[in-house]
């Protein structure tokens, strides 16, 4: 038995190469699985918090419905069209929040010194932080977004050509990747300013709220800012306007509507660099 045990564990931590993508995914899945098991033990508590998450998210849509109790079009968009924008933004954000939402706890771990424990483990730190206290209740947000999206699909005036049919799932994934990159960069920022966890809320929650409304409502500077600086416009505005056959307010060339995937890839690469710089600048409280 002793020999078998020795064979089963041939690698020392030093020989393992944490940091590869496969290692990260594996570590992430292990930690997430652990948290999911622990969450579902208290089933009533899980159902209640998930329902609460759903209801809290639904408040945004309630606001929109209250507005539409007085009007037929907001900025020239009908309720179904706004719902399409809302559904795509919320689904993408819900997915990113579910998978990477724990990143904003990093500041806490830096403050209380428990980040050192994660760094000592032979697994990529980013994967561990992202999976830390994985909150399955965030499914509530995702489900709420999907329900609104599903309701809007036949009503938003989208011509379901093969291109549009393919563009929709791609858009949701690209949006989730862009928001995920924001979560990682925002988390990394807490290496330098641990108390500023709220700051990323303005881009994540604020961004998700912004994208629920037609871009025509906002000032051109704001729309330019979320197109060229923090490219949130690629989450849903550009592709969704294309699907609904509406022009984008900045009058960008048509191919830009399909540029989401490379933009998302660039965002992820950039946030990875920020993350690495953050980890390198980290000085433990004990040092």
């Amino acid at each position: 038995m002793a020999e078998a045990a020795a064979q089963a564990e041939p690698r020392t931590p030093a020989e393992r190469t944490p940091g590869t993508l496969a290692e990260s995914v594996r570590a992430y899945r292990l930690v997430v699985g652990m948290w999911m098991r622990s969450t579902t033990v208290y089933r009533a508590s899980f159902v209640m918090t998930a329902a609460g998450n759903f209801a809290a998210t639904a408040l945004d849509f309630v606001t929109i419905m209250l507005m539409f109790s007085h009007i037929h079009a907001l900025g020239g968009f009908t309720l179904s069209e706004v719902a399409f924008l809302y559904g795509t933004a919320s689904t993408s954000f819900g997915l990113a929040d579910l998978l990477m939402g724990s990143m904003d706890r990093l500041g806490e771990r830096v403050r209380d010194g428990t980040l050192d424990t994660l760094m000592l483990r032979p697994a990529p730190v980013l994967a561990q932080v992202a999976a830390d206290r994985f909150a399955l209740r965030r499914l509530g947000r995702l489900v709420q977004g999907l329900l609104v999206l599903g309701w809007s699909l036949p009503r938003a005036g989208v011509d379901w050509t093969p291109v549009n049919l393919a563009l929709l799932p791609l858009t949701l994934l690209v949006g989730a990747a862009i928001f995920g990159a924001v979560f990682v960069a925002g988390g990394a920022f807490q290496f330098w300013a641990g108390d500023a966890a709220q700051l990323q809320n303005s881009v994540t929650y604020g961004g998700a709220t912004l994208l629920q409304y037609p871009p025509a409502l906002f000032s051109r500077e704001l729309v330019r800012g979320v197109t060229f600086v923090v490219p949130l416009a690629f989450v849903n505005w550009l592709p969704a306007l294309h699907m609904m056959g509406r022009p984008d307010p900045l009058g960008l060339p048509g191919w830009v509507d399909f540029a989401g995937a490379p933009v998302a890839a660039a965002c992820c690469a950039l946030s990875w660099l920020v993350w690495r710089a953050g980890v390198r600048s980290y000085r433990s409280t004990g040092s």
Binding site: S45, M48, T49, G52, A55, A56, L59, V62, T63, L66, M67, S69, H70, I71, A73, L74, G75, A193, G194, D195, A196, A197, Q198, L199, N201, S202, G206, T209, L210, Y213, L217, F218, S219, L222
Partner: protein
């Protein structure tokens, strides 16, 4: 005794004043949300110019008053209630009850100190930012500002009294997360944070205006916008004071019920 609770309030103020980076981050976030909501309101009031009796400038002022009061009224959490629940769950509440200070008055003083800081630290700058970007309908008369200050104070007491009841629920529930969550969802809806209550459709608006949560935004905003002036403004303050007294009394009653059945684990 008054000096003692004043000291508690000052400590509450200082405690929150310690986190300067967090406060700056909060100010930034409030400003971003204010901007987003303001643009949606402009589109709405563009279609319905006198919705709820507000002009566009008044509606925009309402948005920034809402962002300025959000943290002070602890509408998204961040108040004392989770701390109180923690002390009830851990049994530390037994020690609190032995102290020569009244439990409700202690937490009220501490929470008013917190609210005072968050009104200044989190409220003023977003309001200034809003004023720089949009034309706001702020009153010139000092009396309107004085009445607004009174309305905000009373609103904070109402907010406290509701959250005190939420906190005390931990005497009966092992996990109060659900109650806290329901409390702030209901609060956001009925305070007018989503949309001014006078722009709610039909009877829903009338009901919402009569409920205590309206003291947390709608009533102070209407006083500042001078939609309620003179005797009507005093009536608005009396409405808030009435709810504050009723809810504080309810908190006192529940506290008496709860402390009679305190069971300290391990005791």
């Amino acid at each position: 005794m008054g000096g003692f609770y004043a000291a508690v309030a000052v400590r509450g103020f200082r405690r929150y004043a310690t986190y300067r980076v967090a406060t700056a981050a909060g100010v930034f976030t409030n400003t971003v949300f204010g901007l987003i909501i303001a643009y949606t309101y402009i589109a709405l009031w563009d279609q319905r110019p006198h919705l709820g009796g507000y002009t566009e400038a008044q509606a925009l002022t309402y948005v920034w008053v809402g962002q300025a009061l959000l943290a002070a009224m602890a509408q998204m959490g961040g108040g004392f209630e989770t701390e109180l629940m923690g002390r009830i769950n851990s049994g530390a509440i037994a020690v609190d009850l032995y102290r020569p200070a009244d439990l409700q008055a202690w937490w009220l003083a501490a929470d008013l100190g917190r609210a005072g800081f968050q009104l200044l630290g989190r409220g003023v700058l977003p309001m200034v930012a809003g004023g720089l970007v949009f034309d706001l309908a702020l009153p010139a008369s000092p009396l309107a500002w004085l009445l607004f200050a009174a309305a905000v104070c009373l609103g904070t007491v109402v907010s406290f009294a509701i959250r005190y009841l939420v906190g005390l629920s931990a005497f009966w529930l092992l996990d109060g997360t659900g109650v806290v969550q329901i409390s702030w969802i209901v609060g956001l809806f009925f305070s007018g944070m989503l949309l001014p209550l006078n722009a709610f459709p039909g009877a829903l608006g009338d009901v919402a205006q009569a409920l205590p949560w309206s003291a947390m935004l709608q009533v102070p905003a209407d006083v500042l916008l001078q939609r309620r002036q003179g005797a009507d403004a005093l009536l608005a303050l009396a409405f808030e004071a009435g709810w504050a007294a009723a809810l504080l009394a309810a908190g006192r009653l529940v506290q008496n019920l709860a402390t009679r059945r305190v069971v300290v684990h391990g005791g």
